[in-house]
Amino acid sequence: MKRAYLSLLIAAGATAQEKTTWEDHVFSLMEASCISCHNPDKAKGGLDLSSYSNLLKGGSSGGSVVPGNPDASLLYKVTAHLEEPYMPHKKDKLSDAQVALLKNWIAGGILETASSKAKKAKKSGFNLALKVTSTGKPEGPPPMPEHLALEPHVLSERPAAISTMATSPWAPIAAVAGQKQALLYNTDTFDPLAVLPYDEGFIESLKFSSNGSLLVAGGGRGGKSGRVIAWDVKTGRQVLKVGQEFDTILSADITADQTTVAVGSPSKRVKLHDTSDGEMLHNIKKHSEWVTAVAFSPDGVLLATGDRNGGVFIWETFSGNLFYTLNGNKGAITAISWRSDSNIVATASEDGSVRLFVMTNGREVKSWTGHGGGTSSVHFAHNGQLVTCGRDKQVKIWAQDGKQIKAIGGFADLPLEVAFTHNAKRIIVGDWLGNVTVWDVDSSKQVGTLSANPPNLASRLNAAQKHVVASEAAEKKAKQALETAKAVTAAKAKQLSIQKVAVTTRTTEKQKADADLAVSKQQMAQATASRDASTRNLKLIQDKLAKTNLDLKTNETHLKNVRSTQTKWKEQVASRTTQSGMLKAAADVANAGSVKLPEDATLKDAAAKAVAAWQAMEKALKEARAKDGAANGEVQKFEKLTASFRQQSQLDTNASQTAKSDLAKKEQVLKEAVTRVAVATKLSTDKAAGLKAAQTAVTKSDAGLKAQLEKEKAPAQAHAQSVAQLAEARKKVAKWQAEQVNVGRHVELSSLGKLDAEFDLLKDKSNSAKSIYEKAQAELVAVQKELTDAPAKIQAAVKSLSDRQAIVVAESEKLGELNRIVADKEAFLQKTDAFVAELVARHAKEPANNELAQAETQLKDQVRDALLTDLNNAKARVVAQQQTIETAKTTVFNAETHLAAMKALPGKLPPVIGERTKVRDVSKAEFDKTYLIEVEFAKKVDAQRNKVNELTGKYLAMLPK
């Protein structure tokens, strides 16, 4: 252990050139171990160890350090545990090395910085204050980052929860807090615009200045340190660093005129800093909890601050005095946003509310529950709408009267930060998972994302190059597809033209077929007519034949009937003859019987009947014989008739035969004609079908072609697109290649900046050398002139002396005169006194003499006083005259001295001249040297500038148009 300690001391000694200093060594030690209790906000024991000057002030136990004497320094003794209270309080002792460091530092005389010279006056390199501030949109194009480096400062495996975001009030820029960096994106194109490193830790607050030209970041390391940084949005240069805190800064803002920065932190204080020198202007102790939000009104007149208890106050920026206390919030304030007219301020709170307060009276004008569980962020757009997000995992847009206009949900985790873009057309949402999404207000659709953990340029380039390769392949494929499509189209067009020719051929053929058909049809008509005539003739003949045959048949029938009737009657005759015989016999018998038995009636009756039957039969027989004879005549008649008709029929049959054969002939002719027509018709039909088919084919092919042409559009478009994409991808490659160059350019630019600063110093040095030289030269010249002027000066001095001596003489004479006057006046006064005495004496003797008394009184009171005054005046004049003479004598003395000096000059001056000449020469040499260095350095600067310019040129050339 002892050895380690020794070696440390030796080490400290060995690096004696590198002195132990506050700035380089001690401060970080204090920061790590002491400042949490000894800082301006919480100075335990009245001791503040956060700055060199405050450390020197010491605490309630007196000075903490005695330069050069560690053992007498309380700071050392308590940390080395040589004396109570041991520090750090209730914690482990500092390491031996740290204690040794402190000892070393005190022993070395508590240096603040390594340079022996006094620290250069702290000044902000940039004068941020604006002469004219306008609250509206600034004139001219709003500031946009100009070709800033895009290489991420820190690259992590994943993003963290989005701690803060800001949007430019006038430009399409969103600033997102990444890891130890702020990332700027174009909210229209989502292109990265800048990476602004924040080495102080993690950013908790981002704000654009009112005119959009500065981006202010507050943050730090939790529990340890905090700083406010501001960058120029255009150039990306860090232009401000103020506000040392001992925990991370939770919120920071800058006034519209850019003179003042406000800081809110866990210190429960609100601090206002001057941007020109970082000086703290106000340290407001009013909040009872961490100050979580600070926001200047857009006009910069007022400052709104909120804390973790829900306390919100409005302050006058200029004086730091309380303006209003805004009551109502019951949970931690998460965000404060001003309406652009600076008259309404909106607060968001963990109690879930959104509250609006008006600055005319400090009252709450509207409040509503924005998000159950807590509202995390609020932002006022220029149009007066508000956007909020909260623990209900929603983002909501509100009118200022609290009416919900829109709600966007579906976030996987808590949306923490939300902001409108400059034109309120889009909103940006940052969530707990580290996703930053951009939404279109009108459609409520997500339109893009911004990365809080962007890849580095190399991987971007790599990705872009891969994309190019992919795009090329895609383009090739698209092209092939297009060509394939085109080939198909060509084939189809060719087919169509062939088909069109076919249609023409078919048409001709069809026409011919149609003509044939017509002829055939005509022939057929003739044949038909001819056949019809024959048919008619045949019919006539046949009709006649039929009639004849009918008549014949009728006659034959009649004949047959007649013959049959004759036959019947012949049979009747025969039968009746028989029967009559039999009946006669019967009747005879019956008669016989009746006769025998006349009384028998029945028998008689039967005999009568039998006689009647016989008689009837006889009668019938007669009739039958008659009838038979008639029938016979009839038969004769009809036999004759039949024969005639038979003859006629034969004749007719012959005629019919002839007609039939004629008809047959005609039919044949017709048949032939019909066949011909059928053939022709079929031909015609076939041809028509053929035509139609051809026409259909044409129509189809036509449509196919058209469809194909239509179809061809997609690959064409795809191809066009792929070409565009390829171009875009190539552009990207070019862009990222250019950006890589840009990174180098920025490195050179920053070296240039440093060189410029150094050059300025050199110029200062050279200028001061010059002025020293000039002064020396002037002095030399003056001395030389003095030497040449010496004789004249002596002469003048002699003259001046004599003049002055003359004056002394003259004034002395005047004094003599005055003295005489005084003597006279004194004598007269004495006389008067004597006279008065006489009068008194006399009056004593003659007390009754009134005149005497009167004279005495008069003399005593008036005359004597007047005389005395006169005398005193005269004496005063004498004194004044004596003074004058003294003065004159002094001038004489001076003149004498001067004369003596002048007379000595010719002897004294030459060595002075020699000396001054030497000084002049030295300073001239110095000036020449510095000037030479300056000139040399100027070359270096110019070279660097050229390098930068060259790189800029290269970069711009590389940038895709």
């Binding site: 050895r3 939790g222 529990g223």
Partner: protein
């Protein structure tokens, strides 16, 4: 009044003699003119114990240390040639002038090579290894293994065999004592003898038996080793007895415990050898057993020739276990102390960051860490720079200081969790179901003996984990055995301690007894009446404590009468008892006393205190109700209704507070949660109040338990009766108990028991009453037995009696168990239990102590002095002065013990700490002394006026015409139950002789007696 001083002096002399065991600090009611204790010489010196414990003087230890211990018999390895052939050292030692003194001249005759084990090893282990071992390697030198020592450190080889002049080891130890580089750097330099031994050893080739690794030890360790080397080993145990490894992240450490024939135990983990039978299944290193591939194997632990096989099963050996918020991260918060009440666990947290106290609200904690201030505490992009971690390792200032190192397992757990995305656990994550601390019992011998503890947690998915590194350890008696954060118990002074480990919601304990090293003790043969004596003596034996002897008959009759009946025996009773030669006279006296009504009254009073029987304002509990309630209780106890029945009736009572007086139980306390808390405290002796807002920090009770128990009382209805003073308590049949954090409806569940099925119409309280006052409830009989015990010994087996918790264990759990079993067996009959207790030798022990038990307060090795409680004191003063009291609502002459209403009191009772019955706490009865008590006895009317008004002295002298010597004897016996000693009697009688006003003198004697400690204490 001059004789008054004398009288007091005399009495005090007597008192001091009688109460010589009393601690001076606890003096009670000290009269203004106390005699100087220094003047008082004990007449009856305590009987010296049969065997005087031998006190080991530090000087002896030291002399023993001077001699290096003889080699251990277990390692009889012959000293052979060095295992490693000494190679020429790689670089010559730096050319420094040899500072070695003259002794370093070459030795002509080679001295014998000192034995490595007996001579060399102790020197190295005590003086070198601490800085040059496996833990630290100052100057990059290790001396714990031979190759390292030969290799050396930054400046060259430490040992060059056969050449001690080149051995830096010798160079550095032989430097002048004030030289900067001398080794060892702290403490005395090595003695010349030791230096010589080392030189001789190196000169002899520095033989170092193969594979011997040295570890840092203290001198005391060596002494202890020596001590144990001479003992007979009885058993070797390995904890845990079997190992199951699940997932690749699992591991277990083994602890090896040796038990010797005198019951002492010793941690031999570092001395044992371990060998794994299948090294492809599990891997073994000094950090424990790790999984290699699925399967089963075993590890053989060998110590002193004994083998113990520990089976190992490995499952999911290639599956990693995700870091879980509840199972891995939250235990770190507890271990590191983040969520304790003084840090972020306080109700408002620290600096705005709050964690639930001991992690009762995991979801809330997860929310607060990840999403309360979403970007402040954690950073998922750069987890290492999360404030949660940076504060813990104090990379940024942290008021709580540095809690653990960067890269420690705690740091890694949180970091990995963050890297994984700081996720909350799924709902079905296994819950810890129990934990176990091992070894369960320790008997450590000698200050400085250590024992490493192991804590195993079991989970609902059947797995277990070694959570020794995550448990929080605590000892309830650091004076006897302290425990480090890492779980190493170190023996301190003689006594016992309860070593607790807390993990998740569980607290478990292990008993550690510490006895002085080398104590000569043999177990005394002590008479034992019953099981009480047996168990008490068993414990005393473990502590190597010898109990005191029996008390005298005089002391016994006074003690028993006061304890059982709250009265002093009258002279007749005393004479009868003392003169009796019946060997069972004590037993008989106890029986007689138990049959007196005063015994009942005593217990009615004690229960009235627990039930807070007292009037309340605005007729909430009217006097009538109070009286009815008290009478109800009195009637139940007087008729010997078993206490379980009484409690059941009480808890399930319904009806009007007049008609069913037991319902007053629910009228005296109307807050549902408090009713539940009181029921737990009174009937189970448990304080569950903490669990209303967070899990009990030192017991098993969670908020779930609390609200589930309170749910039994959530359906009590109260409505007005006709009489405005009466309230009707009924079962509302509805009403839920909701969990404070998430508003869950909690179903009734017995505290520490099952969740009963309760039909909707059933009164939940009936179900509870049935369980609570039954043998099923393990706490009921135990609690009552403990209360009874406490009454007779002044201190409970668990003390305080109503603070039963894991972290406040019974001083003699076996005894308490047996008492409670018997109590249950006796059907909760107090008398039988009291009989057991009073008949025991333990109860009848004298207050005199011996050397071994003088510091015992909890193990009943001697009787304790107990001040009489307020009511009994007033009653006995009244009794001996033959006066009467008048209390509100009671007839003149009633005893203070009989007062029904807790609000009725008088100045005396209040001054002497009568319970106001405002809470159920046992602390209401105050026994602490106060100045006003002393002044009141000295100057208050309670003594002076009563002596006069009672006229006892007058009666003795003037009515009964007793001679002063008899009157004096009477006064002594009636107050102190003994005759005055000769030393007391003589001067008093002398004063009486010399004084005219004999009555006045005797009254003053009487006054002095009432003011004596001997009177106001039971002894």
């Amino acid at each position: 009044m001059s004789y008054m001083n004398k009288l007091l002096t005399i009495l005090f002399l007597g008192l001091v003699i009688q109460l010589c065991a009393e601690e001076p600090n606890k003096a009670v009611a000290v009269p203004q003119e106390p005699a100087k204790p220094a003047e008082a010489k004990p007449v009856q010196a305590p009987k010296p114990p049969e065997t005087k414990p031998e006190v080991v003087k530090p000087a002896e230890v030291k002399t023993e240390v001077a001699k290096p211990p003889v080699p251990k018999p277990e390692t009889p390895k012959p000293v052979a040639q060095p295992a490693v052939v000494a190679k020429p050292s790689p670089a010559p030692a730096p050319e420094k002038p040899v500072v070695a003194p003259v002794v370093a001249t070459p030795v002509v005759a080679k001295p014998p090579i000192p034995n490595f084990h007996s001579k060399i090893r102790p020197i190295l282990e005590v003086s070198c290894i601490q800085c040059h071992g496996i833990e630290k390697q100052k100057g990059k030198l290790r001396l714990d293994q031979s190759p390292f020592a030969l290799k050396g450190g930054e400046t060259g080889p430490a040992i060059v065999p056969e050449d001690f002049a080149k051995s830096l080891l010798i160079e550095r130890i032989a430097l002048a004592a004030d030289h900067d580089d001398i080794m060892p750097p702290k403490g005395d330099p090595l003695s010349p003898d030791q230096v010589k031994l080392l030189k001789d050893w190196i000169a002899g080739g520095a033989p170092w038996p193969k594979d011997i690794e040295l570890r840092a030890k203290t001198r005391a360790d060596l002494v202890r080793e020596q001590l144990f080397a001479n003992k007979k080993l009885v058993a070797v145990e390995v904890f845990p007895s079997k190992v199951s490894l699940e997932t690749s992240s699992d591991h277990h450490k083994l602890v090896v415990l040796a038990t010797y024939d005198d019951d002492t135990t010793r941690d031999v983990t570092l001395d044992a050898t371990f060998s794994i039978s299948d090294a492809t299944t599990a891997r073994l290193d000094r950090n424990g057993i790790f999984p290699a591939k699925d399967g089963s194997t075993s590890v053989r632990v060998t110590f002193a020739g004994r083998n113990v096989d520990v089976p190992i099963t490995v499952k999911d050996a290639s599956t990693p276990r995700n870091v879980s918020f509840r199972l891995d991260v939250m235990p770190v918060f507890m271990r590191a102390g983040c969520n304790t009440g003084s840090c972020h666990g306080s109700a408002r947290g620290q600096d705005g960051f709050m964690l639930s106290l001991f992690g009762y609200d995991p979801n809330g904690d997860h929310h607060r860490i990840t999403r309360q201030l979403s970007t402040r505490r954690i950073n998922l992009a750069i987890p290492e720079e999360s404030m949660l971690l940076e504060k813990s390792i104090e990379a940024v200032p942290h008021t709580g200081g540095k809690l653990f190192e960067k890269g420690s397992q705690y740091y890694d757990s949180i970091l990995t969790w963050l890297k994984d995305g700081a996720n909350n656990d799924p709902a079905d994550i296994p819950q810890p179901t129990s934990i176990e601390i091992l070894p369960p019992k320790l008997l450590l011998e000698g200050t400085g003996a250590t024992q490493k503890m192991a804590v195993i947690a079991r989970y609902s998915d059947g797995t277990d984990r070694d959570v020794t590194d995550l448990a929080v350890f605590q000892s309830n008696n650091d004076n006897s055995a302290s425990i480090t954060k890492e779980g190493v118990v170190t023996a301190q002074k003689r006594g016992e301690a309860f070593i607790m480990a807390r993990f998740a919601t569980f607290t478990v304990g292990s008993q550690a007894i510490v006895i002085p090293a080398g104590l000569t003790y043999s177990r005394p043969k002590v008479a034992e009446t019953n099981y009480v004596d047996k168990l008490v003596n068993e414990k005393l034996h473990k502590l190597r404590v010898i109990p005191s002897g029996l008390c005298s008959d005089e002391a016994f009759i006074r003690r028993t009468s006061l304890d059982i009946a709250g009265v002093l025996p009258d002279i007749e009773e005393q004479t009868k008892f003392i003169s009796s030669t019946d060997p069972k006279k004590r037993e008989k006296l106890i029986d007689e006393l138990l049959d007196r009504k005063e015994f009942t009254e005593m217990w009615v009073m004690k229960f009235a205190e627990l039930l807070q029987i007292r009037t309340q304002q605005n007729n909430q509990v009217s006097y009538k109700a109070t009286l009815l309630y008290h009478n109800w209780l009195k009637e139940r106890i007087a008729t010997n209704v078993p206490i379980d029945k009484i409690v059941q009736e009480l808890l399930s009572s319904t009806g009007g507070t007049f008609k069913a007086p037991a319902t007053n139980y629910y009228q005296i306390e109307r807050d549902t949660l408090k009713v539940a808390e009181n029921a737990a405290q009174v009937f189970m002796g448990m304080r569950i109040q903490c669990a209303q807002c967070h899990n009990h920090p030192f017991d098993r009770w969670t908020m779930d338990d609390y609200y589930s128990f309170a749910a039994f009382f959530s359906q009590i209805g109260r409505k007005n009766a006709e009489d405005p003073r009466e309230v009707i308590v009924y079962n509302r049949r509805s009403g839920d108990m909701k969990h404070k954090i998430d508003g869950r409806v909690m179903l009734p569940k017995f505290l520490g028991g099952a969740q009963p099925e309760i039909p909707r119409s059933t009164d939940r309280r009936v179900v509870l009453a049935k369980w609570l006052a039954s043998a099923e409830n393990p706490y009921f009989a135990r609690n009552l037995a403990n209360i009874v015990w406490q009454h007779f010994f002044g201190v409970g087996i668990i003390e305080p009696v109503d603070d039963v918790r894991v972290s406040n264990p019974a001083s003699n759990p076996e005894l308490l168990d047996d008492l409670s079993h018997r109590f249950t067996e006796y059907n909760y009959d107090f008398k039988r239990l009291v009989r057991d207790i009073c008949n025991s030798q333990t109860y009848q022990r004298t207050t005199h102590t011996n050397e071994s038990n003088v510091s015992d307060t909890r193990n009943f090795s001697h009787a304790n002095l107990r001040r009489l409680r307020a009511e009994v004191l007033l009653d006995v003063i009244t009794q001996v002065t033959s006066t009467k009291n008048k209390f509100k609502g009671l007839p003149t002459g009633a005893r203070a013990v009989q007062i029904a209403d807790g609000n009725v009191s008088n100045y005396f009772l209040t001054t002497f700490g009568r319970a106001t019955r405002e809470t159920v706490c046992s602390c209401e009865v105050k026994m602490e002394p106060s100045l006003s008590q002393a002044l009141h006895l000295l100057n208050g009317d309670i003594t002076h006026n009563r002596i006069r008004s009672g006229g006892l002295v007058n009666q003795l002298l003037n009515v009964e015409k007793k001679p002063p010597v008899d009157a004096l004897d009477f006064l002594y016996k009636s107050t102190l139950c003994r005759s005055p000693s000769v030393e007391e009697r003589k001067p008093i009688l002398a004063v009486i002789e010399s004084e005219e006003d004999k009555k006045g003198v005797l009254e003053d004697v009487f006054w002095a007696l009432l003011n004596s400690k001997e009177f106001i204490f039971n002894h």
